[in-house]
């Protein structure tokens, strides 16, 4: 069963057994930031899973909502219980692809700027997103980075009336993922 999770992601990202085409990360970083007049809201998770198919450009991302850490306990409680309802919607996912994969040469070390698009699911709501991303290739591994904004209302995340005017309706999401070759053992 546990293998099925990994293989499932591999299959979904395009072609089952050719693992040499797959890059994987099991501790990707996801953070979000929202500027408010009361206080800035910021949280980080460093346990996201992502699989990237170098051949097709297909990309998948999953993060556990309860893995987001805040500086303040109350914010974390409100985030899980009132806003994201993490017991009901424990994961957030992205399924998409690199639109201009031909710009990246995974056999050549370098920095590549591309566009990524796909479906982002948060709080049980799925919406299309497109964002600029960059990939830094080093020795067959890749570091991916992306940043984009979402509207809370698109994901059915409601803000209590009391603080409605004080909380930004958009949130900046940042991704930072170091991919390792699935075919190679991961190094410390």
């Amino acid at each position: 069963m546990k293998l099925f999770v990994l293989l499932g992601m591999v299959v979904l990202t395009g072609g089952a057994v050719f693992c040499q085409d797959k890059l994987v990360s099991r501790n990707g970083s996801v953070s979000f930031f929202s500027k408010t007049s009361i206080e800035n809201i910021e949280a980080h998770s460093q346990t996201a899973v992502s699989v990237l198919d170098k051949k097709t450009g297909k990309l998948e991302f999953s993060v556990l909502i309860k893995s987001f850490l805040f500086q303040k306990a109350l914010m974390q409680e409100h985030f899980n219980e009132n806003y994201l309802e993490s017991d009901k919607f424990p994961k957030s996912t992205f399924k998409g692809r690199i639109d201009d994969l031909s710009k990246i040469d995974f056999s050549q070390d370098g920095n590549y700027t591309v566009s990524v698009s796909g479906l982002l699911t948060i709080h049980g709501e799925t919406r299309p997103v497109t964002a600029p991303a960059s990939f830094t290739v080093t020795n067959g591994s890749a570091m991916g980075q992306a940043e984009f904004n979402i509207m809370l209302s698109d994901y059915n995340i409601s803000i209590p009336t009391l603080v409605k005017d004080k909380i930004s309706r958009s949130v900046k999401i940042s991704l930072n993922v170091k991919y390792d070759d699935l075919a190679k053992p991961q190094m410390n």
Binding site: K2, L6, R26, T47, K66, S67, A73, P90, K91, Q186
Partner: protein, 145 residues
């Protein structure tokens, strides 16, 4: 003294005490930091392979049991990955594809974890669920050297 004056004085005194008290409580709640993991009692102590197999067998049931809870996991160190702000320890049995991923924040790893592959360890953390692996955050080592 008239009765009504006495009553209003009492109300005024109560307000004088309670309004700042509520304010202080609210301020403390707003700024409350997550509790120190060292001081928290684990709801469960479990071997890493047992935890993974429970999530494998029935993720929904295992999530209801462990997710959001402080648990102690006993297992063997498979791999340690470090960044500037954190360290991640993978506990696995060397056979399974899945592991228990234990995430240590920077303040928990001021002293860099010096762990050997295969070393048996007890790690306490908050279970946040299951992706490819079971994920524990805000981890601390229970049997520190």
């Amino acid at each position: 003294m008239k009765e009504w004056l006495k009553k209003y004085r009492l109300i005024g005194f109560a307000a004088l005490i309670s309004i700042p008290a509520v304010g202080i409580y609210g301020y403390q709640q707003f700024n409350r930091k997550p509790p120190d993991m060292h001081g928290l009692r684990s709801s469960y102590v479990i071997a890493s392979e047992d935890l993974v197999s429970q999530f494998d067998a029935d993720e929904k049931e295992a999530s209801a049991k462990y997710s959001g809870k402080v648990i102690t996991v006993v297992g063997n160190v498979g791999m340690v990955q470090s960044t500037d702000s954190s360290q991640t320890v993978f506990l696995n049995d060397g056979i399974s594809a899945s592991a228990v991923i234990c995430h240590f924040q920077k303040n928990a790893t001021d002293k860099k974890l010096m762990l050997l592959e295969g070393e048996k360890i007890r790690i306490k953390g908050v279970c946040s669920g299951y992706l490819m692996d079971v994920v524990l955050v805000r981890c601390v080592v229970e049997n520190e050297k």
